[in-house]
């Protein structure tokens, strides 16, 4: 495959070149059709002789009439052909770009077009011709970009490229990772990212974690946070100087990544290889990535409760949500988070930590028995819930919301079991709805089990269309069809999509991981399918007698060593009864590994407070073997070391 990789790399430009040759041939054929008919009649007329004499006259008239008749017929037919071929050429042209009849006027006109064309354009033609990668983009670009500017000089889209070799729909993590991948593999690639957000690509995890722990009062503006290694960075993947302006994309000698913000792709024409934006701009592409992510799910009870309630509700996902929640958290007395999963628990812990200073009441409610109830096995979920409570969060578990009302400027949440919670603001963290808006116009399949666009193991939906990130329901060779909503998956799948868009043809193989932090005591990394409904085997480091005050006495040799040994033997076989003195240590899930099994094969692993062991976990899942004794497998993780 590696040979294939390099071969593909070499062939890709050739393939591209041949496709452009095809396109140019078509256009040339069209032009020829236009020209030929106009020549022929002229030629024919000049070669026809004229007759003379009486009988000869009649004969001549007959011949003349026949001639005229046939000439008329010929002209009419050819005119019809001409019109048809002109139309055909139009069709072809419109398929390439968003132009009309005006395209028929000679291309050179656009090169010398007046000031309406932005400065780069006259340069665009020659420089585009010079740069080899997208030669096919040169002519249509020169022709069409002129048209919109002449037509509409007020709309900002008049400077936009009407064709891009690589179009990435969505400006999130997956899209950015794909852009990186494409640029690394295709020299001089021109990548256009179109996003409906006003922001450049940024990473999401800090919005519910690190940004809340920052001491900087201006963090909502700077959006900078301190990483685990102490270094500070922005949530934006790259500063604005990394990107080039969309209008400069065509003329960029070495290509680049351009981001078109605040523009939504509303229609996709797969046959024509083009998309339409919400301002009616059309952009055609060679390869397209759909990385539209999703929007936070809302609760029906909230939607039904009216505007006053919705005004006091946050559906958390984007930078603007972070900013508004931060503001709210400083001005209200009580915030309730509905949802006990990753986002809900992380936000609860983050706000809970703040509550110690501000006196903010933080409530978290969810239908499960404990935090992360759908992810962690019950014993661990309960343990985690206790930790979250210690962060200052009021937990209301097994809570199903019946109705929400706004009374006297306060929200009243009525639960199905009768409990009532009064709060000032609600944060709904109840899941993500993958964005499949383009499925209808593009004719792409949507998965009914997991949601999202259905793609194959190589993340491809159709020729020239790939999907990555939260919106992709893909086939994982090892673990089966799934859809993953984690940051690292967005990175891994975005990278893979970028590789495949540049000819790699690789399936999803490198398993992505995820992590979560819930307060200072609980941090874990996980990989694979981590679903609490699966049978699990958890191997935890036993807090040995060494870690107890007893240890001090033992060390000094005044020992009660025998006592500790008897303790051990008493507890060794499977016993539901545990000796009293050691109980608190027994239930302390400080460090360990949890295996999730499906048909006796490990499909998911959680590294509980043990770090830097992800490669081993990844290997175990990749192997997909049945292991008789998972304790033996756990040994590979060295959980007792740091």
């Amino acid at each position: 495959m590696l040979k294939c990789n390099t071969v593909c790399k070499r062939f890709a430009p050739l393939v591209r070149a041949s496709s452009t040759v095809c396109r140019q041939n078509v256009r040339r054929a069209g032009l020829n059709n236009v020209r030929t008919p106009t020549c022929v009649p002229v030629a024919r007329m000049s070669t026809e002789p004229l007759g003379g004499g009486g009988d000869n006259l009649k004969y001549a008239l007959l011949v003349g009439a026949a001639f005229v008749g046939s000439l008329t017929y010929a002209v009419v037919t050819l005119k019809g052909d001409h019109q048809r071929s002109v139309k055909r050429m139009e069709d072809i042209s419109t398929r390439l770009q968003k132009s009309t009849l005006h395209i028929q006027s000679a291309p050179p006109v656009w090169f010398s077009a007046p000031s309406a064309l932005s400065k780069p354009k006259p340069e665009a033609a020659p420089s585009a011709e010079q740069s080899s990668p997208p030669p096919e983009a040169a002519a249509p670009d020169a022709e069409t970009t002129g048209k919109p500017s002449a037509a509409d000089s007020t709309s900002p889209s008049h400077k936009l490229p009407s064709h891009t070799p690589y179009l990435l729909i969505g400006g999130g993590t997956a899209s950015f990772a794909a852009a990186r991948s494409i640029r690394a593999r295709d020299p001089g690639a021109k990548v256009l990212i179109v996003t409906d957000e006003p922001d450049l690509p940024y990473m999401r995890p800090p919005l519910s974690k690190e940004l809340w722990f920052s001491d900087d009062p201006s963090v909502t503006e700077t959006l900078r946070f301190k990483q685990w290694n102490g270094k500070e960075r922005s949530i934006y993947f790259q500063p604005p100087s990394f990107y080039i302006n969309p209008e400069d994309l065509d003329s960029a000698e070495n290509g680049g990544v351009a981001v078109l913000t605040s523009k939504k792709v509303v229609h996709m024409d797969v046959r024509g290889n083009k998309v339409k934006l919400d301002d009616d701009t059309e952009i055609s592409y060679d390869k397209c990535l759909i990385a539209t992510g999703g929007i936070p799910r809302s609760l029906q009870v909230l939607e039904r409760s009216g505007e006053e309630v919705m005004k006091r509700t946050t559906l958390f996902r984007k930078i603007e949500d972070f900013k508004s929640l931060d503001k709210v958290s400083r001005s209200v007395n009580s915030i309730t988070i509905i949802g006990g999963g990753f986002l809900g628990s992380e936000l609860a812990c983050a706000l809970g930590r703040k509550s110690t200073e501000s006196g903010l009441e933080v409530v978290q409610m969810f239908p499960e028995k404990g935090n992360m109830g759908k992810v962690l096995p019950e014993y661990l979920s309960n343990w985690t819930t206790e930790k979250v409570k210690k962060e200052g969060v009021k937990i209301i578990s097994e809570a199903l919301v019946k109705s929400v009302a706004c009374k006297d400027d306060k929200l009243e949440i009525q639960l199905k079991d009768g409990r009532l919670v009064r709060t000032d603001h609600i944060v709904a963290a109840v899941g993500l709805e993958p964005n499949v808006d383009l499925a209808k116009s593009a004719g792409l399949e949507v998965d009914s089990d997991f949601g999202g666009y259905r793609v194959n193991a190589e993340l491809q939906a159709r020729s020239n269309i790939w999907v990555a990130g939260d919106a992709a329901c893909f086939y994982d060779i090892r673990l089966g069809r799934r859809r993953v909503e984690h940051h690292d998956h967005a990175v891994v799948s975005g990278r893979l999509a970028g590789e495949n868009m540049t000819g790699a043809s690789k399936p999803y193989w490198h398993q992505s991981m995820f992590w979560s932090d819930l307060g200072p005591d609980v941090g874990y990394e996980a990989i694979g399918i981590v679903d609490s409904s699966l049978p699990t085997v958890g191997v935890f480091a036993k807090a040995t007698a060494k870690d107890t005050p007893k240890a001090a006495t033992e060390k000094s040799g005044t020992g009660i060593r025998s006592e500790s040994e008897t303790e051990d033997t008493a507890t060794s076989p499977v016993a539901s009864a545990t000796p009293a003195p050691a109980v608190e240590h027994k239930d302390d899930y400080g460090k360990g590994v949890i295996f999730y099994l499906r048909d006796k094969v490990v499909v998911g692993i959680i590294l509980w407070n043990v770090f830097n062991r992800m490669p081993i976990a990844r290997k175990i899942i990749k192997d997909g073997e049945e292991h008789a004794d998972l304790n033996e497998v756990a040994k590979l993780f060295n959980i007792h070391e740091d």
Binding site: R183, R185, S241, K506, P507, A575, A634, I639
Partner: protein, 151 residues
Amino acid sequence: MSSVREEGKDKIIFVTKEDHEIPSSADLIEEDPDDPYEEKGLILPNGEINWNCPCLGGMASGPCGTEFKDAFSCFHYSKEEVKGSDCLEQFGVMQECLQKYPEIYPQEDDSSSSQTSQDSAPAEPPSPNRAPGNEQDSETTTPNKESSEES
């Protein structure tokens, strides 16, 4: 001695350090270095440079990507005694480009030519697993950090 407990479908095992000192009997399948699906390190098995390696920290895909690729390719294929001594021009051009984007390429490091290891390609992208720093590509200073650790 370890203790085992079962709570429904979930099994819980507590193990001491001593329990885990006995080497594992678990079998892991041997890695195939030619596996086409695996993520590759810096140098592909055919000797070429893997520009998409996360270890490059996005140097090959940024605004100075072309210059970096030229310089590093020259270095990689250089047969001179002092490897890369025939590539000074390319490195100079690259350095010029890097200086144009101080935000993206902070100039705290000595030289971009000392990036990436010549010895061995990291089999797995060395990842600080936690936090978004995992996204190696976004951290353009990471490769410099790595090289300074190695050199």
